[in-house]
Amino acid sequence: MGVALTRAAQWTTAGFGAGTLELTPLNESLLKDIVKFVESFGTKYPQEAEFVFKESLQWPTTLEPSEFEAGYVVSGTTVKSEENSKDGEPLLFLSGSDIRVSSFGQLSRLLHFAKDKKLKEAQACLEANRDPIMKILGAAAQGIVEKEEDDLTAIRFLDKMKKDENYENNLKTKISLLLQQLDMNLLDSSLKNISLETRLSPASIKNDVDLLKRFSGEGEQTVLESINYTSDFEFANGCRAPPWRQMQGEICYLTVKPHDCDFIYLTCSTAGVFVNGGIESDTEEINYERCSEIYKDLVSILREKSAKFSENISKQQHSFFGTKKKEKKKKRPPVIEAEEIPNLPQTSAVSQKSPSVKRRMVRKLEPSLKWTSSVTPQEKQDSIKESQEEKSLPTTTDKTKSIISTTSTGRSHSLTGKSSIKVEDLISESSSESEEEDEQPDRHQEGQTDLPSEYWQIQKLVKYLKGGNQTATVIALCSMRDFNLSQETCQLAIRDVGGLEVLINLLETDDVKCKIGSLKILKEISHNPQIRRTIVDLGGLPIMVDILDSPDKNLKCLAAETIANVAKFKRARRTVRQHGGIKKLVELLDYAQSKTDPVHHHSMYEIKDVEVARCGALALWSCSKSHANKEAIRKAGGIPRLARLLKSPHQNMLIPVVGTLQECASEEHYRASIKAERIIESLVKNLSSENEVLQEHCAMAIYQCAEDEETRDLVRQHGGLKPLASLLNNTDNKKRLAAVTGAIWKCAISKENVTKFREFRTIETLVGLLTDQPEEVLVNVVGALGECCQEPENRAIIRRCGGIQPLVNLLVGTNQALLVNVTKAVGACAAEPESMTIIDRLDGVRLLWSLLKNPHPDVKASAAWALCPCIENAKDAGEMVRSFVGGLELVVNLLKSENKEVLASVCAAITNIAKDQENLAVITDHGVVPLLSKLANTNNDKLRRHLAEAISRCCMWGRNRIAFGEHKAVAPLVRYLKSKDTDVHRATAQALYQLSEDANNCITMHENGAVKLLLDMVGSPDEVLQEAAAGCIANIRRLALATEKARYS
């Protein structure tokens, strides 16, 4: 067990001390085996089972004292076994959530009690006792067991066993033998598991890609048109994925263009290869989301995705197969592999080559390097050395390299392997240093065929930038600006001819004009995502951050604007922060301050100052998309400055300021400060501005901030609701509409605001927006209606303007957020019988019901909540519910969910369903009682309340009362009475009252101290609670009297 655990089990990386077992299939099967072993231990080896451990195993358990049966002394929260060790210590001791066990017998009994928590217990036990054998047998025995691994010492061990005539030692060794057997079994089975899932390594992927690359290009015979990494940068560990993704086991990302379909974006991770979300055009970041199954390697996924690939690859099958097989055997030392390689060429295309070439190849071992992609770097170096030694050969590495670069099409043809020269190219190429160096000239060559004239002109200008003095540089910079810098060809041309390096270099000179010219260009071309990335790679950001300190305001502006453009992705934003850019940018905001000075002289400077502040805000806006930057902005004192700028009369300044605030408002701290700085007032004021973008951002900021109640009140107090409501009338600008409806939604959470909205007739307008709007608008509109519906008056309004039909129609959507809101709104409407008739007529209940099948727990829960008022208010609800085929079974099965909110909502739905006797009978048949009973051990008050209600309802049928008792639901229910929530008390008292109709339940309640708790409840001001509690006590008391009577008569 010890070996298997330490070697095979996958522990989380949390560190040795606090490590927990990961939830992997492998671990699960290990645990199951261990559990099976321990469980059967008691019966199989009764003698050994009594053996007392050297040191008891101790772990935090989830078992309740009530779960222990005969053979244990239960007192309050502690449990002792009746079996004692020789020293009189109990073999099992539970106190609170801490359990100590010191014999196999007890362990197996414990697992027996634990039932479905077996695995959990076993896991907890192993996690707490990383070295169980040590504890069971003591340190000395551990040594024996470990030595035992060595076959030779087995005999010695037997000898020792004979010598040790001591009974206990005998037992010990027997146990250790048993454990060892288990260990072997475990290792065996886990080995099988492991061998099934080969984990990919950066090296193997690199080799695969290299190989495929050589087989790619234009032409019919190649397997792919192209295959490229998304990033040229390779980390020391061979990964190309950014470090935070490497944490997820991702190695690199590829863009693959097969012959017969569009670009495929792949993620290679240690677990396998899968399709990702591709590169997002606006942020140029990779969408890491997995969009396909995980395939075991690159070839198998490409086979699946491209028919052409699998067709062409099968032509190379023989060679490829060799590769794959080799890879699997990779655990062998490389030396062996190298020895094997000479056998391979006969299967490869090389066999067709002229004898001389063939001989040379075999001697150099290079053909095999070519055809087996599993070359380790070590081997590679060796082979390079070898080839250098054989300098006498006509083809030296350098020479062939030049051949490659001159014959650009050679690569694609080489696959066919028809000419021996081409193959030579390939061979020597495989010994060239690295992939990147190969790639660079390639790209240029590809481009040369159709390079636009701009390319050459830009190249010339860059030459003058490099070699000119200040005057020539300025001329070249100005001339470069004449090109259409928003065009990608020009942007990339500047990058490809090394212009970015020069431009960034110019930023470090003293010459203001050169800096200005350079920044003007960088500002333009940094709209291109690739350029942004290169600028960051070249270390441009820190220099720009330094320029922010420059006394020249023009420079400050340009630098800030360029930063605003570049900081569109995470790494860039982090760089800005790390170089203190945030603080400087925040300081730029101070510039627009000194306008109070009346001296005429200043006005010219003031315009510039406003511009500086605007650019600063613009850059902050970009930067504020990162969480840590938001914090940095706040720490640098950005909020009061932004608040001040918000009062500025300059419109173009307001947009970035509000944009930044809106980004930042997702943070709790910010919302507090925004309140404190009286920013809401300005936001509300700007809602009435002329500028649509500004209105949009203001609404967006209000949307973010209005999560907070005080803020909602502030919006109302500053008269923000009216402009919001009136903005609804203009529906052309969808982005603004989405923001405005969002703000209305959040504001509508406050009742007073809803009243206001009703005055403005917003509800009618919102209903009008329920059709023909994009989803992002709909989500907010429906959310707002859902909030408004909480008041009966508004429900009537919605019904009157025909809002129910479109709402019900939206129930068939797929957008999760929308569905959550729609179900909520429909549910709220259903609280009114008149609306309910409409919903019923539109078949809304069926739609809600089918949403219970939605994969998203939020949607499920929301749908279940919505069903409650529907069932409550529908005419003939029982019949309606029964009419849904399989509907009741579906609901009952949702009780197996893990999500507390789903469980609570389903319990509430069951409470309503169970009001109909017939339905109650059906759900009883579907096993609602055991499922509800199983949920009883919960600490969630919301769930407790609805669960108790459901139980009390379900008691009304047949022998359900007794069944709840049998399934041990009573004892936990009694504990609910200790909860602080009075709603829970009421529901529980009612449930207990129902349960107390059964004598056995009364006994359980009494045993668990229900009477005292209930007596307190009788004194409650809540009449329902009073009554239920009293009724329950009465039942218990009656039973007691009856028993007494029976005893004495």
Partner: protein, 275 residues
């Protein structure tokens, strides 16, 4: 200075201040005084009324940090309006007016005059070549170094020659500069802004206050953290407006007069106060 001289100077200042757009009478007085100082320093022969070419180049070099001989010659030509080989006091004040305070229009006019080597109203291809010939670093690999310059001239013409007549008229030049301010000094630095560190200008400015040692002015400005010309201009503007220097030495200590009116908040550090 003799009272007669003083009267004459005041009269001159009076008349000049009527024509000068950017300097007031007091400033012009200072400039005239400074001109005479320069004249005394640089000219051995007494009796001349202007600064000759060499002396002027010397001034440009030491004060404004200009290095290009040809451009400095052209600057002298631009200053020396009457072409007598000397910059006299009127020309000096008028030149500096553009040099230091000129509007964009004045500066454009001035720069164009500097670049128009033969004063025919056009900057021709040859003139450009002449001005740009030292602008590229000699690269050993290049076959013909002139080729690069010619190319650069072509680029410049493409950029600036709006009427495509193969030469730059003032209209061409003006249009280009308005499009792109960086092209103001397209063919070489001929204005003080671009290169001259403000400290050097301060040295020069400090001649305007005959009462005050220039290092005090520099320290004062440094400690006020005036970092660029615009702020310095404001500072001096205020000084001239108030008509009194900000600083007056009292028993070895300096008192600051009303810095409140300045847009500068930094307090004066003790490092120079104790002189």
């Amino acid at each position: 200075m003799f009272p007669a001289n003083r009267r004459r100077m005041q009269k001159l200042a009076e008349s000049l201040s009527k024509t000068s757009k950017h300097f007031n009478k007091h400033e012009i007085e200072c400039l005239i005084k400074h001109f005479h100082t320069l004249l005394e320093e640089t000219i051995e022969k007494q009796g001349t009324t202007g600064i000759d070419r060499n002396a002027f180049r010397n001034i440009l070099h030491t004060i404004f940090g200009m290095t290009d001989d040809m451009i400095m010659d052209r600057v002298f030509r631009a200053f020396d309006r009457d072409n007598d080989g000397f910059v006299n006091v009127t020309e000096w004040v008028a030149g500096l007016c553009v040099f230091l305070r000129g509007s964009l229009e004045e500066k454009m006019k001035y720069c164009f005059d500097v670049y128009d080597l033969n004063a025919d109203g056009f900057i021709s291809r040859e003139e450009m070549f002449h001005m740009l010939k030292n602008s590229l670093l000699k690269q050993p690999s290049e076959e013909d170094p002139d080729e690069g310059i010619k190319d650069l001239v072509d680029i410049t013409l493409k950029k600036m020659d709006h009427d495509h007549d193969g030469k730059l008229s003032f209209a061409d030049y003006e249009m280009s500069v308005r499009e792109e301010a960086l092209l103001l000094e397209a063919f070489g630095p001929c204005l003080p802004e671009s290169k001259v560190p403000w400290e050097i200008k301060m040295i020069w400015y400090s001649h305007l206050f005959e009462d005050l040692p220039y290092f005090i002015v520099i320290h004062a400005i440094k400690d006020f953290n005036i970092v660029n010309e615009a702020e310095a201009d404001i500072c001096f503007g205020l000084i001239f407006v108030s008509g009194t220097p900000l600083f007056s030495p009292i028993q070895g200590m300096l008192t600051i007069w009303s810095p409140v009116s300045l847009p500068l908040q930094k307090p004066v550090s003790s490092s120079w106060v104790q002189i």
